[in-house]
Subunit: 457 residues, 2 copies
Amino acid sequence: MMKPILAVLACISVQSASAQASDSLAIRRLADEVLTRSTAYENLRVLTKQIGGRLAGSPQMVKAEKWGAEALKTAGADKVFTQECMVPHWVRGEKEQARIVSRRRDFVPPLNILALGNSVGTGKKGVTAPVIEIKSFDELEARKSELKGKIVFYNYPFNPTFVKTFHSYGDAVKFRAQGPSRASKYGAVAVIVRSMSHSMDNHPHTGSTRYNDSFPKIAAVAIGLKDADRLSQRIVNDPTMQVFLRTTCEMLPDTIGHNVIGELRGSEFPDQYITVGGHLDSWDNCEGAHDDGAGVVQSIEILRAYKALGVRPRHTIRVVLFANEENGTRGGVKYAALAKENNEKHVFALESDAGGFTPRGFIMEMTDAQRARVKSWTPLLQPYGLYDFDEVGAGVDITPLGRAFGIPMAELSPDSQRYFDIHHAASDTFEAVNKRELEMGAVGMGALIYLVDKYGL
Amino acid sequence: MMKPILAVLACISVQSASAQASDSLAIRRLADEVLTRSTAYENLRVLTKQIGGRLAGSPQMVKAEKWGAEALKTAGADKVFTQECMVPHWVRGEKEQARIVSRRRDFVPPLNILALGNSVGTGKKGVTAPVIEIKSFDELEARKSELKGKIVFYNYPFNPTFVKTFHSYGDAVKFRAQGPSRASKYGAVAVIVRSMSHSMDNHPHTGSTRYNDSFPKIAAVAIGLKDADRLSQRIVNDPTMQVFLRTTCEMLPDTIGHNVIGELRGSEFPDQYITVGGHLDSWDNCEGAHDDGAGVVQSIEILRAYKALGVRPRHTIRVVLFANEENGTRGGVKYAALAKENNEKHVFALESDAGGFTPRGFIMEMTDAQRARVKSWTPLLQPYGLYDFDEVGAGVDITPLGRAFGIPMAELSPDSQRYFDIHHAASDTFEAVNKRELEMGAVGMGALIYLVDKYGL
């Protein structure tokens, strides 16, 4: 009985070795194409330097949509179209102001702050109030009787001991998301949140807050790390201190935005889709280069490289530049809703929204068997620096689609050491992106799509 | 027969699981210490910003040696000492000049060049000669009759398709090392070498050249990539073009330098050494932050963190700041020679000289069995981003020791995408180093030393 089994095994093994050699060559060709002739970096330069920050609903976003459609055509898409969707329309208003007000009347430089996305303003006159420093929600609850009329300063430090910095972010972001309403519940008049970063500079890092409609909406700002430390010391040293805050941001009625989509038509299953994308919108206070210009230009680059190499996928590859991730996720929600409405068939979705840094693997939301299949491709992927396939999760924009269709999802997982230095801060610029690191991310994404398209999951 | 074997295996497996849990905790403690309280980044700031470029034999190198000894003491070394060694004493002289000279008399900006390390000067009057562009040594040999009286311009592009950029460097560096003498053999009067880089800027990248004493020594310079392209086009378009080159660098008689060494005394085998180090010298045209300030401060950090945690290694750990890597390797040679002379016992050597970027593994020169042992530690190392242990090689400074003693050697292998953007160029500055990436390298090195010290190889 052994011999036939061994013969079968040997046969499978030979087939598999030969398939692996051919896949290895195909991925090598893709890498050579991207590393030699990629337009991703130049596309990123145009998006960040000529268009710049592009919050959903802003005039810059209208320009970005036009640019995205053109870039997809230039890359060789068989079809380019848009999906209209309503997006939040939040405007920052005038430059935020914050300063320490004290009976000491000593000179202190203004505090470097930035309104949180979707937050309300203080009103034109601003607000002046004593500041109470809070390090946890437990402390907030314990001191709830002290909050009335105060500015709550959430000064929770970004934990440096997580190797993957997204875990530090996950640990701290609750103060930005829930902090304003939880403070407002007890009568606080405004909130200052320590930036979610371990950068060495003083840039404040914005990001969305979410109000709980049961409580009054109060103004909320992020503060740079150096100024957070300065404010914390001052609270200890100067009991008379108050802070003046002024923000004029406001939420206008929803407006129209678009997902911008380019397709590379499948040869065998043209009506079955593999989605790959990033979000076209960014915060308004930066160039949105890593977040998420990188994901946008990497996704376009995959289409360009496939087309340039004459690679014809079996399934239709859809490059989706999502309309609104930062302050609403409306783009991803709309994409999933239309896919359902149109009875589309989806097989896999991939996103890049964790920065244009050197790739290390993919975080994935899929069955154990599917994950095992991706891991079986390690010999093909590890030469490109991709070895980490254990983490569970997926990108914000593809999750509505993936959950609606029950399909496997993945998000590019780049090295995260530098991400929160620049995330949602003015320092997220084109210059912070390295050309080769960006390209290596596109190589990794293109390789995974190649394998999923060929073998399924 | 099966049962006893299984019982033994089960026993080993239980022991091993418990040892692994304790090792995992020990490495976690080390990582927490480094990521929370590291002095590596601040040490690097002082070394690069207060001392700056520090070529062997330079006054800056004398300052760097003093700084290194102090830093080792501050880190908690049980013993700090130096080893005197003779080092080359090359000086760059006046700022290099290069310009296109043409009958066209059109305005052309000067060429951005930098003398190669150890190269001779052109003489104060400079040299003006026609330029011949050469793309390979085969082409050089084929056109040897055309070289007399010419400046040879090696314009070999840095290959972008190698994923690990050190392979691109290995592919191109022969033109810098051998190019001048191979051109001089056929009567060339000077050499211009395209910088070994795929950076987007125009900085020239220096590095050592090696003359063959059989041929006249001729001046040799590196040229920035943009100017290399400009020069190449001009050669095609302007047959009357010549280039004027002026360098006044010279090799002075050898002078005195020092390896700076700090020890953490071993508890069980105090007379058996584990060496860990980087080179203190750097090129003079940059701050030598990645090359190799990073390796220096990472090595010191391991000692600091061990001491701070009360980790007492079994073997004595020697942190060695080598005296002269860039233009002579004299520090490493001296260290090995003294180790032999003093009948020292060495068990392992580790170096960091590939930049302070996020780590991916180690390149290693050791037996297959030793490599397999390191690979068996993957579950302990991969959580810190270390998974790549396949590449063969070791650092320049530890190789003389490792070969003399026949001991296993390793070099930290960081992500290499950004290294040749800044390698040996003015852009190798403190600002190009990310604090966390630097620290993660120290964590990886400290973890490997912990395991080798505990289990041997």
